[in-house]
């Protein structure tokens, strides 16, 4: 059985401009949404606060719950249904992060039981102090930056044998970032600037494959973050895990194509780079799509059946895998051509 014929030949490279505009549009919309929403909507892991997951023995109305919470002085809390409807599960969230000391869960249980006239089970309580949230936010940004950097060293080492050049570059970038982070610099700003400098250095040093990989990865991460922001979904620790997994996994397809490009460069060295890249993408199209499909199958089953806690994680993975497949075909490979145009003008 085959979905894609072996002799398939779609002219992808000539359509790279269309893809470029599509990507730019989605990225701009992502940034716009982030600006309108004043940054990502952080869950309590990153913003600090308290979350209580409750389960009722029979259906209740959110109004009843709210009145019960008002009575105990938690009027600013938000209530939201969680997971499957028939489970009667709800998440209660407040900004306050200090109230758990005085037996919060017991008081919530009593308040809700008297307001809703229904048996309540406290299933989960999470309290994160503001300091912890801020620390986690910083650590998450650093983790993503380091993952991007390490992976691009590996790519330029493996594909262009520029281990030393990219290694020295990455180590100096990391040490500068580390020392600046000790000073009182805004971490998101610092990481943003560091990423831009990384891109400029890749460009100047002509680390083509690393550049293609890191641009594709940033593209995937920005779009995933953007879609989360557009849908007003929360950023929690598992979402960061999903983003890092996307960084690692969505590169797989890129590597498949890059490998073939390198192979074909040796085989057809008389042809133009456009031809070689286009041929490589076509030759590997079948496996690029198949590998994504098998992973998508399990992630979708996780999304549908994995339960509320894992739901958003699976969603992020779905978005990441889809954009990852797209970007390996339409973003990463065309970037290899960027230097060519540059060279010709000179």
């Amino acid at each position: 059985m085959r979905f894609i014929k072996p002799d398939i030949n779609i002219d992808i490279i000539s359509k790279r401009k269309i893809a470029f505009y599509i990507s730019i549009t989605i990225i701009l919309v992502s940034f716009l949404s982030l600006i309108i929403h004043k940054g990502p909507r952080f869950g309590i892991d990153f913003a600090g606060g308290t979350l209580v997951q409750v389960k009722f023995s029979s259906p209740v109305s959110i109004e009843d719950m709210k009145s019960g919470l008002d009575a105990m002085g938690l009027e600013k809390s938000s209530v939201q249904a969680f997971g499957d409807k028939k489970e009667n599960e709800y998440l209660i969230r407040t900004d306050k992060s200090v109230v758990t000391d005085q037996g919060l869960s017991l008081r919530v249980k009593k308040a809700l039981e008297s307001a809703a006239g229904n048996n309540v089970e406290i299933r989960r309580v999470e309290m994160v102090g503001p300091q912890v949230g801020e620390d986690l936010r910083k650590k998450a940004l650093f983790a993503m930056f380091y993952a991007l950097l390490f992976i691009s060293i590996y790519i330029s080492g493996r594909f262009e044998l520029k281990w030393i050049l990219s290694g020295v570059m990455a180590v100096s970038l990391m040490s500068v970032v580390y020392f600046l982070s000790l000073l009182d610099v805004s971490i998101p700003f610092l990481i943003g600037v560091a990423l831009v400098i990384t891109l400029i250095l890749f460009w100047v040093l002509k680390l083509k494959y690393a550049m293609g990989a890191i641009v594709a990865l940033m593209h995937d991460v920005i779009i995933t973050v953007g879609i989360f922001s557009i849908l007003d979904k929360e950023f929690t620790l598992p979402i960061i895990a999903a983003l890092l997994t996307i960084i690692g996994y969505s590169l797989n397809d890129t590597i498949i194509v890059f490998d073939r490009i390198r192979e074909n460069l040796r085989k057809h060295h008389k042809n133009t780079l456009e031809f070689i890249i286009n041929r490589s993408i076509n030759e590997t199209l079948s496996r690029t799509i198949l590998t994504s499909v098998t992973t998508l199958v399990v992630v979708v089953s996780l999304f549908v059946m994995g339960g509320g806690i894992i739901h958003d994680f699976a969603f992020a993975m779905i978005v990441g895998i889809l954009t990852g497949t797209y970007s390996s075909i339409f973003v990463a490979s065309p970037i290899l051509l960027a230097w060519q145009g540059h060279g010709k003008k000179k």
Partner: protein, 526 residues
């Protein structure tokens, strides 16, 4: 064929080792190795992060030094007009500017308080004011010891309370992470851990009027402390104020034992405490000097009782009463035996998962793993037929290897960890897809079966390695970043990536070789 059998042995060793490590999880009595650890999010329990307020430890050290200074100056008859702790960790000391006085004071300072640093010395209207504090190394040491000691004390309390397999460790300079699996009464556990348990005996100020003091006119040297009572039926809280002298006569530091006993008259539990020799002596002296006065028993700035001293008490025993429930008395005895925390601790992070949510999560995880797995298996068989079957065997072995790895490395399986396993089911067949596609491509070029399979493996190997290494890099960064559940995800993802490389590159190759070389098949179902 030598190479072939050598590989075969290696593969079987790996699989059998994995199975041996998994066995105790299925049947615990087979051999004594631990089961696969379940994270708190799967088995239920409480995760706490505490921050030790180490600044307070420095403050109380300074307070103690100020008190020592006061009594030494009194003993040496050095005239002073006030020794106070100011700005948290400084001592301000006022002396009459007379030469004898100053000389005596300075020689005392040099002899007894070598550690103190002189910050400033100013004269105003014949009064000389010194400001003293502790040097930075000294305060650094106090802070470091405070965290260590808090950790030991908390460990002691939890051990005595009896939680199976608690995990208590220091994080950073002043944080303590505590994991209590299976704990149900979370409020009680938090009370047990978070109480400073500073036990103090202080005299009531019976000269001044409490009502005047309540209006804000608190006499120097005294303070208002409250006794807090909660009515068990109405849940109403009443607060009774006391005017208590600031000076602490005796602390819980001299305790040797604390036990729960039942009052025979009221049938109420109370905590009886025993002092060591020095403490008993002090207690006898205090009670002797203050007969008919009221002595407040203060725990963490709350008054528990303030009985009138009837006579000198020599036995070195006292009792703490205060309308305790049996559990409260039991926990208080534990806390007093384990000792006070050197500084207060604040809970800065708490994550509690009830046992029912944990088992629900396991079930949902397993269901989505089965369904996702079955879909992938079906897909592979339909798309690649016989070869897909080989990939599926590899897939199942892959899950066994991950489980074996979890058990063997004593890693913890968390809910995101289950998601990681499910994810690697999808990723594990990727490697086989790459190989099979390459084999198909080589066959299209008209190669023989053997050389097509050979070429397929050798050309796909590097791609598979590269793709997996990048995922592994991300997983390792995640492991470094993550806490608890997320670490669990990084672990299963890494194990899955390694296992899938092993099964795809070595195991399925062996199966292909077996069919091509030993069975000499002519048609490959792919």
């Amino acid at each position: 064929m030598k190479n072939f059998s050598w590989k075969l042995i290696a593969v079987f060793t790996v699989i059998i080792t994995a199975v041996i490590y998994i066995l105790p999880t299925i049947k615990p009595d087979l051999w004594p190795h631990k089961k696969i650890n379940l994270g708190l999010d799967l088995q239920g329990g409480m995760h706490l992060a505490l921050e030790v307020d180490t600044e307070k430890a420095v403050e109380s050290t300074i307070e103690r030094i100020a008190q020592e200074l006061r009594s030494l100056l009194k003993k040496e008859h050095i005239m002073h007009s006030g020794i106070d702790r100011v700005e948290g960790t400084r001592i301000s000391l006022k002396l009459q500017d007379k030469k004898d006085n100053i000389d005596e004071f300075e020689s005392l300072l040099n002899k007894e308080f070598k550690d103190l640093r002189m910050l400033s010395r100013s004269e105003d209207n014949g009064i000389l004011t010194f400001v003293l504090d502790l040097p930075a190394e000294e305060t650094g040491l106090i802070k470091k010891l405070a965290t260590q000691q808090a950790l030991e004390t908390i460990r002691n309390r939890i051990d005595q309370f009896g939680v199976s397999e608690p995990d208590i460790r220091q994080q950073g300079e002043r944080r303590i992470l505590i994991q209590l699996p299976g704990i149900k009464d979370t409020k009680r556990a938090k009370d047990l851990i978070g109480k400073t348990a500073l036990l103090e005996f202080k005299l009531l100020d019976e000269i001044h009027d409490l009502n005047i003091a309540l209006k804000g006119n608190i006499p120097p040297g005294s303070e208002i402390l409250y006794e807090v009572k909660e009515d068990p039926v109405t849940m109403r809280i009443t607060k009774i104020p006391y005017l208590v002298k600031k000076r602490t006569l005796l602390t819980g530091a001299y305790l040797t034992d604390a036990r729960v006993q039942i009052d025979s008259q009221y049938n109420e539990p109370y905590v009886s405490i025993d002092f060591d020799k020095k403490g008993a002596k002090l207690f006898a002296k205090i009670t002797e000097e203050n007969v008919k006065k009221r002595l407040a028993i203060v725990l963490d700035k709350k008054v528990y009782s303030a009985p009138v001293i009837q006579e000198k008490i020599t036995g070195g025993a006292a009792r703490i009463t205060g309308n305790f429930t049996a559990d409260e008395a039991h926990d208080l005895a534990i806390i007093l035996r384990a000792g006070a925390l050197p500084a207060p601790v604040n809970i800065i992070e708490e994550r509690t998962v009830g046992p029912s949510l944990g088992s629900d999560s396991i079930n949902k995880g397993l269901i989505s793993m089965c369904i996702g797995g079955i879909l992938v298996i079906l897909f592979m068989v339909i798309y690649y037929k016989g070869s897909g079957l080989i990939a599926n065997i590899a897939l199942i072995l892959n899950v066994i290897l991950i489980a074996g790895g979890l058990a063997g490395f004593q890693a913890t399986l968390t809910l995101p960890g289950i998601a990681g396993i499910i994810l690697t089911i999808g990723m594990a067949v990727d490697a086989n897809v790459l190989i099979f596609e390459r084999i198909r491509e080589e066959m299209n070029l008209g190669k023989t079966l053997r050389s097509a399979v050979d070429a397929g493996y050798s050309k796909a190997t590097l791609t598979i390695l590269d793709a997996n290494v990048t995922t592994l890099i991300a997983a390792l960064v995640l492991f470094q970043f993550g806490t608890g559940p997320i670490k669990g995800f990084a672990v299963t993802l890494s194990l899955g990536v390694i296992a899938s490389m092993f099964t795809a590159l070595i195991l399925t190759r062996l199966v292909f070789d077996y069919f091509l070389i030993n069975r000499k098949i002519k048609n490959l179902s792919i």
